[in-house]
Amino acid sequence: MSATETLLAVRDLRVAFPTDDGVVHAVNGMDLTLGKGETIGLVGESGSGKTVTSQALLGLFKGTPATVTGEIVLDGTDLNTLSESAMLAYRGKKISMIFQDPLSAMHPFYPVGSQIAEVYRTHNRVSRKAAAEVAVDMLGRVGIPDPRRRAAGYPHEFSGGMRQRAMIAMALVCEPELLVADEPTTALDVTVQAQILDLIGELQAETGTAVIMVTHDLGVVAQVCHRVAVMYGGMCMEVASVDDLFAAPGHPYTQGLLASMPSLAEETGRLRPIPGFPPALLDLPAGCLFADRCPRASSVADDRCRTELPLLSGAGHLSRCHLGGLGEAA
């Protein structure tokens, strides 16, 4: 962990949804720390709990049937203990969020500028006119040309990339300390993806905002993140700096994930998927959630992988595996 001041500390976060079929345990003891201005990647397959975790950070499950336990400490305040109304002062102001599909994430019936101004006015006592000016200024800062004219436009009149820029303008207009970006480039063209990632990086350098980059794309992680947390079955399997993770993945799941990435350098034309399926979240197994798919579970004595949940351990480079030792990459 770097020496910078800690901004966010998530401890043993659990999110469960009651359904007709039983309780779905989407997040099962998530631990995460983030320094000020740092960028951490949250990677994992679909259903690994990335999005649920990110929405829980903003307290979006307050007032719903979902149960959220654990600590979400932002700047010394445990957000999970706050009421919905107390949380309002944090959302958009100190912790903000952008989403995968900016078209559906913005209101279709209001001009883009007025949506940004509304967020600013929610957290700052300024006139409508002043807020509208701030919105125009912010649209300019995210690289939208002719921002004064575009502020009067509606989301459907923007291109995908411009829309995501406008969404970023909305999320950052109050200069939050933490931005949760939930797959912000997944719905975009590859060339636009790179521009959006660059933009987030630039704004981050200007404002010192920390970013949680939720993605299933390890390429995105490599491009923008300092550290990365690999999620599986609603918990962290491995947390490491980006360089360490790519150079020496410690957890068999991470190793499988990296091995499954197609490489242009290699001659073998076949993808190498991880066999099996992600765990059923209705009925969690007692041991390691990855044990059923793990190529090395049988090498651990006493069947520990299936009976005992390993802890997230290590120094700096953390891994949740009974095999423990790092650098044992196959």
């Binding site: 929405q55 903003l58 979006l60 919905e84 109304s85 309002l88 002062a89 944090y90 959302r91 958009g92 102001k93 903000s96 969020m97 989403f99 599909d101 559906s104 994430a105 913005m106 209101h107 279709p108 019936f109 209001y110 509304e118 967020v119 929610t122 957290h123 509606y154 459907h156 909305m170 999320a171």
Partner: protein, 342 residues
């Protein structure tokens, strides 16, 4: 050219197209109604000639009504009244029917336009109050049910709505009359003297006169508005932009009433527009039950007595209102939803 000018030109083009389509549609409707009348069981001539009808008198009546002419000639005669005034009546006893001429009543020989002008205020009186009542009740209860989804209030409202939908006007109307007029004497029987809040009875008299018809209609219609509002709002609450509004720290009141209602209101506007249009064409059952001589009441009596011009006029007017309501709804869409370009 500015976008505002462009939008203005778009709206005018839209209106021109819609008015042209409306005229075509009205001609088609008039033709169908006219044709249906020819094959109907009622013989207008027999009805018009009075008590003692000899075959000769029926023939005379037929000539006086214009029913001796071939179908198309008769129909075109009728249509010509929309363009200019025309002469109506038996040979030697022709009278002028001023433009716009919708014919004269077979029953009373009164100009049909006068018949409509007399009936319409009653129907408008019923419609105005009923629409206001059911919209306010339906939309607010529907919104409340959506906000309390799955809880007791939701179940109560949805249950009441299911009950309301299955209450036919004759049942509620008669029950209301029985309880509030005959038994409790809280309200007078509906009077056909009162057709406007500006008449001699005053606004209060008008209000009291139409309260029961309003309630009877509102019980039926607000049930539908509760259901459609609840469904539309629940769908809206699940939208991504609602989550965004919360994620940006907007208070719940603002998220629900500004972002939610604005987005969820479209189907309600559609239904309201069509209901207003069809109600102005006559609330047939309500007017019958409460003996209000409005458009619907007039239509029923005209159809029963084979009064072709009055039946035609009421049908055309109802069609006109419904078509206009459709155009207005489409214009409202463009105001509500910037993605809609008319």
């Amino acid at each position: 050219m500015s976008t505002v000018d462009q939008a203005g030109a778009d709206v005018i083009g839209f209106l021109v197209r819609r008015v042209a389509a409306m005229i075509v549609l009205l001609v088609v409707i008039s033709f169908v109604t006219f044709a249906l009348f020819q094959v109907g069981p009622a013989d207008p001539a027999a009805a018009a000639c009075g008590q003692e009808c000899t075959p000769e008198r029926i023939d005379q009546a037929r000539i006086a009504l214009g029913m001796d002419k071939p179908f198309f000639v008769h129909y075109l005669d009728y249509l010509s009244g929309f363009v200019h005034s025309r002469m109506i009546g038996a040979p030697g006893a022709l009278t002028v029917c001023a433009w716009p001429c919708l014919g004269k009543s077979f029953q009373t020989n009164e100009a049909v336009t006068d018949v409509l002008a007399r009936a319409l205020p009653y129907t408008v009186s019923i419609a105005v109050g009923a629409i206001l009542l059911w919209t306010v009740a339906g939309v607010s209860l529907g919104l409340l049910a959506a906000l309390r989804k799955g809880r007791a209030a939701d179940k109560l409202i949805v249950g009441a709505a299911s009950g309301g939908v299955s209450l036919p006007i004759p049942v509620t109307g008669l029950l209301l009359l029985l309880v509030f007029v005959s038994t409790l004497h809280l309200l007078p029987f509906t009077s056909n003297e009162i057709s406007s809040p500006f008449g001699p009875a005053g606004p209060l008299g008008w209000f009291g006169n139409y309260l029961l018809p309003w309630v009877a209609l509102a019980l039926l219609f607000s049930a539908q508005y509760i259901r459609i509002t609840r469904t539309a709002m629940l769908e809206t609450f699940g939208e991504d932009f609602m989550r965004t509004a919360r994620a940006m720290g907007l208070p719940r009141r603002r998220v629900v009433f500004k972002h939610g209602v604005r987005a969820g209101i479209t189907p309600i506007v559609t239904m309201l527009g069509l209901d207003i249009g069809s109600l102005l064409g006559g609330a047939v059952l309500t007017e019958q039950i409460f003996s209000v001589p409005g458009v619907g009441f007039t239509a029923v009596h005209a159809a029963q007595s084979g009064d072709l011009p009055v039946t035609m006029a009421v049908t055309m007017m109802a069609a006109f209102f419904i078509i206009v309501a459709n155009v207005v709804v489409d214009l409202c869409y463009a105001v509500i939803d910037p993605r809609v370009r008319v």
